[in-house]
């Protein structure tokens, strides 16, 4: 069985957590938290830390098993299977929607005349090759692409500085702390997407781990959440500073618009087209992560594996992507799955699993 290192666990986690959260995050948190929304990004992501640590404590107790297998052990076979089916359905549906975002972003911002199906197929081809290459190659891919994504984000934020409008940020905390809380709640589902991926990834960690290695993994969770939280805070802050809160809420892909108004010393304008290549990589990581979760789920629950099932999952993803062709309906659906499926499912499942594991440990001792 393939294994990944502690460092790869960290970068893979960070890359999946980051995904393309930098597209909707500004609009989402500003919609609830107003001009102070940027302050709720990091606390929202931080919810992922206790959940990540819960996953790691389960991994330590049940080495070499993913959380679906642990569920069957702790809750019994049938409840475990039901959880597995829910896991497959939710992650599969969400992965398909994210694939749809590939076409949506490209058609909306760079190539409006090209048929959207071409983008779906191109994205799917990359995702399929990546998934077929295995988790080790996926981890290495995310090491490269995540670094490039971070550089590109910082570059875009940096290049946008001349566009900052004075006074958009003030007054700070004019409506108190309440909007920040609701803004944070809106961010939590992003962290839960990451937790769902960790639930399956757990099986690929080394089966016998020293306390030092476990410490490194825990630090990896902290680092991943902090890096992604800070970057997303920067992106949100910059959009509020450039567009103002009202326009930030209206722009679903605010970062793309930001990229389009960037100009490099009157030589290269509209660099978003170039950045889109990087964003495609980030999307590929996120879609591949959910592709993997579906495959792990199918293998654990139904013992289905091999090329045939890999292709079947790809076809399902394409089918879902084609269902929601573009624009607002796709974003609404992604928001719905995030808030009403992924968030409650991951929050309850992981907590219950961890609680039962602790309880069983106590009763056995």
């Amino acid at each position: 069985m393939e294994r990944i290192s502690q460092h790869q666990f960290m970068t893979l986690g960070a890359a999946v957590l980051m995904g393309t959260t930098f597209f909707p995050i500004a609009s989402v948190v500003t919609g609830v938290g107003g001009r102070d929304g940027w302050m709720s990004v990091l606390p929202g992501f931080a919810v992922g830390i206790p959940y990540g640590l819960m996953v790691l404590s389960l991994v330590k107790r049940y080495p070499g098993k993913n959380l679906l297998q642990i569920s069957e052990t702790l809750f019994g076979k049938w409840i475990g299977k039901v959880i597995g089916v829910l896991y497959i359905l939710i992650t599969g549906y969400f992965g398909g929607l994210l694939l749809g975002q590939v076409g949506d972003i490209y058609q909306a911002s760079a190539m409006p005349l090209t048929p959207i199906s071409v983008f779906y197929l191109g994205g799917m081809l990359v995702v399929f090759c990546l998934v077929w290459s295995g988790i080790e190659v996926f981890a290495r891919f995310s090491e490269v692409v995540f670094s490039v994504t971070v550089i590109a984000l910082l570059l875009e934020v940096g290049l946008s500085i001349p566009r900052i409008e004075q006074g958009e940020l003030f007054p700070i905390l004019s409506e108190g702390f309440k909007p920040l809380f609701w803004g944070g709640i809106k961010v939590v589902p992003f962290a839960m997407e990451y937790i769902l991926f960790l639930a399956g990834l757990a099986a690929f960690l080394p089966s016998s781990m020293s306390n030092q290695a476990m410490g490194q993994l825990k630090a990896g969770v902290w680092r991943a959440v902090l890096v992604v939280g800070i970057l997303n805070t920067l992106v949100t802050l910059m959009q509020i500073l450039v567009f103002g809160p009202t326009e930030t809420i209206r722009l679903v892909y605010g970062l793309l618009v930001l990229g389009n108004i960037v100009e490099v010393s009157r030589t290269i304008a509209g660099v978003e087209t170039l950045f889109l290549g990087v964003w495609l990589g980030a999307l590929v990581i996120k879609v591949s992560a959910f592709y993997f979760t579906v495959l792990w789920g199918l293998e654990t629950v139904f013992s289905l594996q091999g090329l045939k099932w890999n292709l079947a999952v790809g076809i399902v993803f394409l089918g879902i992507a084609f269902m929601f062709t573009r624009g607002h309906s796709l974003i609404q659906e992604i928001g719905f799955v995030d808030n009403y499926l992924i968030f409650p499912f991951a929050a309850v499942w992981i907590l219950a699993l961890w609680g039962v594991a602790i309880w069983k440990k106590r009763t056995s001792t």
């Binding site: 290192s5 460092h7 790869q8 970068t11 490209y106 760079a110 190539m111 090209t114 071409v118 983008f119 191109g122 994205g123 081809l125 990359v126 090759c129 990546l130 290459s133 295995g134 190659v137 981890a139 290495r140 891919f141 090491e143 490269v144 692409v145 009157r266 030589t267 290269i268 304008a269 509209g270 660099v271 087209t273 170039l274 889109l276 290549g277 495609l280 990589g281 590929v284």
Partner: protein, 525 residues
């Protein structure tokens, strides 16, 4: 249909066990080698070859013993043979008390111990060993009908000597290069690493060619697993002819269908020594000046030995230029196609107007224009490569100046396209390794087509697929994109994109499981 499928399968699926091509059939020659050793049988086997010399004489000891020296004319040092083998036995030793004791039963032992001087001298009793020794350039002495003989190392043939390698020229550094003679090459290496832990393991490859090959590494620095894997893969090769490094390369590399080279090579002893000191394993094959080195990672093919002789800052600049050159060589035509076809918005208006004016009247789309020009470039490169130097230069001038200028004047291509192709050609020469240059040339075409169909989205898809391919490659267990992925920060900062000053290179690059530190510090970093 079925036979076609079978043939396709044979061509595409490499057997996992023995790496085997054209295994030699069971010749009667092989059967002869199983016979017991005798001078007469050797004569029967080799007498049909006019270059094999049989010198028969008598050794006058206690008994008169018929002897025969067998050697291959051209492979043996005749002077050595005459002065130190034939002359002592036939002239100088007459009257020697030791010679007086010689009978047929003790002739081999007394000759070995007392009569013949020489360092490389040994007794053999197998027919195969005798034939192999003769055909490798040694001389064999047979005595009467004895089933034992003596092999004397007296190799000596014409070789081109130690000259400067053409493919790895250098401004500041040693000028010597490997030659086609194995022993010369190992001696050049020994002169660089005068340490007992340098290991040189001999192997023979090719049923018919019996090519000598040595595997060399430094014990305790090289990973034992990699050394064992190299020897295992070499021993699994079963083929009748082994005529050079290219044969070995394809037989032992991990991914034979990848366009990327997975085994590095050098013609320079200093480069080989440097790589061995990093924990790598070298393969020196007789008959070729190219030495193969494993494991190899992608970045290694963009770094050259001159980097280590120049000052660090100069080396960093050179490396940056080379990496940039590789990117331009791979992507410049694709970016031109994508920008002019799909993404004009990223070009400032003034430049866009200029490009548009240049393209006015060009009857072809940018993709076809670029493909035509790139194919022309490839043809010119291929034509110029194997022609004598003066003619090659003429071809280059005719191609670059006359065809290019005429094409622009005729309105077949835009001036910017000619600039882009020229830039691509120049940039591709910045790639120091020929094999990697070929891979980049090969990859350029699909990315151009993707750019022509899908713009930057196509380029991105192509590059991600390429990245996935590179990430899935391994060279003898080492990930091909190391130290970028998996990330090894120390190796990345010390000797990959940059070259740290020598005083900062305290530890060996930890791409492979290196056992000892370079100097001081901890090992296994």
């Amino acid at each position: 249909m079925r036979s076609w499928l079978k043939m396709l399968k044979e061509l595409t699926i490499r057997p996992k066990g023995e790496r085997q091509i054209r295994k030699s059939p069971s010749y009667s020659f092989d059967e002869d080698l199983d016979k017991s050793l005798s001078g007469q049988t050797v004569k029967d086997i080799l007498s049909k070859s006019s270059d094999v010399v049989f010198r028969e004489f008598f050794l006058q000891g206690k008994e008169r013993i018929p002897c025969m020296v067998v050697a291959v004319d051209g492979l043996v040092d005749k002077n050595l043979l005459d002065q130190f083998i034939l002359k002592p036995l036939m002239v100088d030793l007459i009257g020697n008390p030791e010679l007086a004791k010689v009978t047929l039963s003790n002739v081999v032992d007394i000759t070995l111990q007392s009569l013949l001087p020489g360092l490389e001298i040994k007794k053999i009793s197998k027919m195969g060993d005798a034939v192999e020794a003769i055909l490798s350039g040694d001389s064999v002495i047979f005595f009467g009908n004895l089933t034992e003989a003596i092999v004397i190392g007296a190799k000596g043939w014409a070789n081109r000597g130690v000259t400067e390698p053409i493919t790895e020229s250098i401004v500041k550094g040693p000028r010597e290069g490997f030659s086609e003679t194995l022993r010369t090459n190992t001696s050049l290496l020994r002169r660089k690493i005068k340490h007992p832990s340098l290991r040189i393991i001999s192997l023979k490859l090719g049923d018919m060619t019996n090519t000598d090959l040595v595997v060399t590494y430094i014990e305790k620095i090289a990973s034992p697993d990699i050394v064992a894997e190299v020897i295992k893969r070499l021993e699994k090769i079963k083929m009748d002819g082994m005529l050079g490094n290219g044969y070995i390369e394809e037989m032992i590399e991990d991914h034979p269908y990848s366009p990327f080279p997975q085994i590095s090579f050098t013609e320079r002893p200093d480069v080989l020594a440097g790589k061995l000191l990093e924990g790598k394993v070298g393969m020196i094959c007789d008959g070729t000046p190219i030495v193969l080195v494993v494991p190899a990672v992608l970045t290694e093919f963009l770094n050259v030995n001159e980097d280590y002789y120049q000052r660090a800052m100069v080396a960093i600049l050179s490396r940056f230029v080379r990496y940039l050159g590789a990117l331009i060589a791979m992507l410049a035509p694709s970016i031109y196609i994508a920008v002019t076809t799909f993404h004009q918005e990223i070009i400032p208006t003034d430049l866009l107007m200029s490009i548009s004016a240049g393209r006015q009247g060009v009857p072809f789309p940018a993709l076809l224009e670029a493909l035509t020009m790139t194919v022309t470039l490839e043809v010119l490169q291929e034509a110029g490569l194997r022609l004598p130097k003066p003619i090659g230069q003429t071809i280059g001038i005719v191609g670059a100046l006359i065809i290019g200028e005429s094409a622009v004047k005729a309105g077949l291509v835009s001036p910017l396209m000619v600039i882009i192709i020229g830039l691509t050609a120049v940039a591709s020469y910045a790639i120091p390794t020929f094999d990697l240059g070929l891979a980049v040339r090969l990859i350029r075409f699909p990315i151009m087509i993707l750019a022509g169909i899908l713009g930057f989205f196509g380029v991105a898809v192509g590059l991600y697929l390429l990245l996935i391919h590179l990430l899935s490659l391994r060279s003898f267990g080492v990930p091909y994109l190391s130290p970028i992925a998996p990330l090894r920060i120390r190796a990345l900062l010390q000797d990959t994109f940059v070259r740290a000053p020598w005083w900062a290179l305290k530890r060996r690059p930890n791409l492979i499981d290196v056992e000892e530190p370079r100097s001081g510090g901890k090992g296994k970093g």
